[in-house]
């Protein structure tokens, strides 16, 4: 334990025991810094912007977190965002039925997720490889469906992506609701507890009568579905579904999950942490715009902040791992 942990009041120390604490501290530190260095930072408009910018990453990260807690990983989320958005937009354009477009978007994500899940559970393909394959396949399908040309996407999707209710972005509200729901699922629902169990000790979980395959299929499907929703929101925000939408999102999403204290080898992680992680990433980008940091320093800073946020946690912990 460092002096930091020793000196603190008991409350602080108990806070520090949570893995997400160090990221929260980082988040607050940056926020305080920004509040002093830019007059606009604390304006409600800017704060809500940050919330909106975090929301897609956070929503997709909710699903990713469950996948990782269950000892999986989903590299395909970025492409699933893309394919869900374009399929939804194409269907909407063809039929004009808003609800159908939305539904098809979620379904496309779900189908991709289920396909990932089946590859992992039935074909026993390593999740890294299975979803890496899906990353390519889903992107290819998005290109094929659209012929490579972005599709207009307005209506409900635009409301989800860009709408505001009393100034609060709809996507941010949606993210909060979903985070709450997934938090309850993870901590209070039987399924959630079983997800933790199979991530921590798959063998023990199986012997306790938990259906590993069904549960894994669920987490991949759920993650895919949230990626689908993320795609609809993102495309709605832009009022346009680009087949390249979401490219590279997988790293941001996984980083948010792990920054939030979820263990890559499963069994541990909190939903609150995931939201904090996503917020940190969005706040960083906001800081770059507000402070006018040059692009190259942005890249360096981003890396350093990630390292420091997690490094604080590592330093204060003992060598308990091996």
């Amino acid at each position: 334990m460092t002096t930091l942990a020793k000196a603190g009041a008991p409350a602080l120390r108990s806070l520090l025991r949570h893995r997400e604490a160090s990221v929260l501290i980082m988040l607050l530190a940056i926020a305080v810094f920004l509040a002093f260095s830019n007059e606009y930072f604390l304006s409600s408009r800017n704060l809500l912007n940050v919330g909106r910018q975090a929301s897609v990453v956070a929503i997709v990260a909710l699903g990713q977190a469950l996948v990782i807690i269950a000892r999986g990983i989903d590299l395909s989320v970025g492409s699933v965002i893309g394919v869900s958005a374009v399929v939804a937009a194409v269907v909407l354009q063809a039929t004009g039925i808003q609800s159908l477009g939305l539904l098809v978007g979620l379904l496309t994500g779900l189908v991709c997720g289920i396909a990932n899940g089946l590859m992992v559970t039935r074909l026993r393909i390593n999740p890294f490889i299975a979803t890496l394959g899906m990353l390519s396949v889903a992107r290819g399908i998005a290109l094929l469906v659209t012929g490579g040309i972005p599709v207009m996407f307005t209506g409900w999707a635009e409301f989800l992506g860009a709408g505001r209710i009393w100034q609060i972005p709809v996507s941010f509200i949606l993210m909060l609701i979903l985070a709450l729901a997934v938090h309850i699922l993870a901590t209070r629902h039987r399924l959630g507890r079983e997800i933790y169990a199979i991530g921590d000790n798959p063998k023990a979980a199986r012997l306790a009568g938990i259906d590993l395959k069904k549960t894994r299929l669920f987490v991949f499907g759920f993650c895919g579905c949230l990626a689908g929703l993320g795609g609809v929101i993102l495309a709605g925000n832009l009022a346009s579904a680009d087949p390249n939408l979401g490219m590279g999102y997988e790293l941001d999403v996984i980083a948010a999950v792990i920054l939030g204290g979820t263990a890559l080898n499963g069994g541990r992680g909190s939903i609150i942490g995931v939201v904090i992680g996503a917020m940190l990433m969005a706040l960083l980008n906001n800081a770059f715009v507000l402070l006018g940091i040059s692009a190259y320093w942005q890249v360096v800073t981003k890396g350093l902040v990630i390292i420091i946020a997690v490094g604080i946690d590592g330093l204060q912990r003992r060598e308990d791992d091996e």
Partner: protein, 516 residues
Amino acid sequence: MQSATRQGEEDGGGGNAVPTLPFVRLSNISKSFGSVSVLEDVSFEIRPGEVVGLLGENGAGKSTLMKIVSGEHAPDGGRVEIEGSEVQLASVGEGIARGISFVHQELSVVGALSVAENLSLGDLPRNRMGFVDRSRMRELASERLARIGAQAIRPEQETGLLRAGEQQLVEIARAAARNPKLLILDEPTSSLTPREVESFIQYVETARSAGTAIIFITHRLDEAIRLCDRILVLRNGEIVSEKPSSEVTRDGIISDMTGKPAMFEYARTPEVHDRTVLSLRSVGDGDLIEDITLDVAEGEILGLFGLVGAGRTELLETIFGARRMAAGRMEFCGERAQFAKPTEAMTRGMAIVPEGRKTAGILPQHSVRSNMSISSLGSMSPGGIVDRTREASQSSGYRDSLSIRMADDRQLIGTLSGGNQQKVLFARALMTNPKLLLLDEPTHGVDVGAKSEIYEIISNAADQGLAVIMASSEIPEIMALCDRVAVLSLGRLVGIVDRAALSEQRLLSLAFEGHV
């Protein structure tokens, strides 16, 4: 085999007067893994209210047989009948639904979940909304823990933070909670304290009178004789004897298990030692142990005794540099020693056979040979490149001298029985030519036959001048081997007993010192 079954029928029921239908009947079960045949033509049955002991050497096939009963493995041949009808259990879940609960040999609790959740895992209580009913779950947990006398464990604790023994109790409580018709306990007592064993035995008695059939696997023969109605001995995948426990003797069981006449009870004749190898002065780790002062001489076997949690493992880890020595002073071979990591301890001439063969001992994806040589690669790698002929010859040397039984030393270590795996870990330690050998529960989960061979290995090592520190919970083996015994309680040294003054009574009373 037929005769054995019939004999079982006659004597079956033990204390139960009413002759009921057998709960499970196995007929002519066989099972092999790849080309290795593990069970051959095994038949037996068990009735409600009966406690059957299943004994056998490591690798005899006990756990495999039970996995077939519970639905984890499918047999290659033979019939499984439950309550009179033939079944083919497809999964553990089906077995559970049929009333079969299995406490596995390997710990299988989920460390990330609370004790209460572990106790209800697979069947979490739900409220009307479909969410976990936490207060109900906690109630259930307290009730279930109390049933096996483990009310000391708090239901909301994170299971991963419990001692191994406590985790074992959680597992037993979970299995018991299902009110099973058949309860299979695979070495449940191996990491329990004497007191925990007593409460556990009480539970078994209660369950028996409530009509539960119980199969009890253990390597502790006395416990088996005391607890069971009937004792079955498995050897090389075949049932070799089946007798009411009133008719068996220790020696009889041993010769059934090993196929050889009962081994001699090992008793070492100590030599005179003078050269001190290790000396500790007021050593502590700043956490779980403190103020330990002791000396170990060349050729001496120093026992470390204590209850679970006394700090024996921590002391060994501190000596070995796997834990930080926060206080005190250590001298090794006359020189000051303060190791930052085990590597340094090993280069100076220490070696360890750690507690927890699976978690801290073997390299599961490595061959037997690699497992043996991994600590000695430095000495057999001129220019860094491993001399494979030398590695092979060293390996086969230890294979002979420790009589490790295997087909080929290039097979994966996981395919060996527990006792043989343990011998491989001894070979790994001895191959480094240490001056001090640290042993932590060296015969944990090892059968009688292998045990006596391991005793011989330890004793031989000491005779060749090695200093040995052996932490053990088994009083008989401490009595048989040790020249002196240091007793720890709650992280402190409470006494060192010389061989002359050694008695079970004395060790236990010291070990309980400080406990209320």
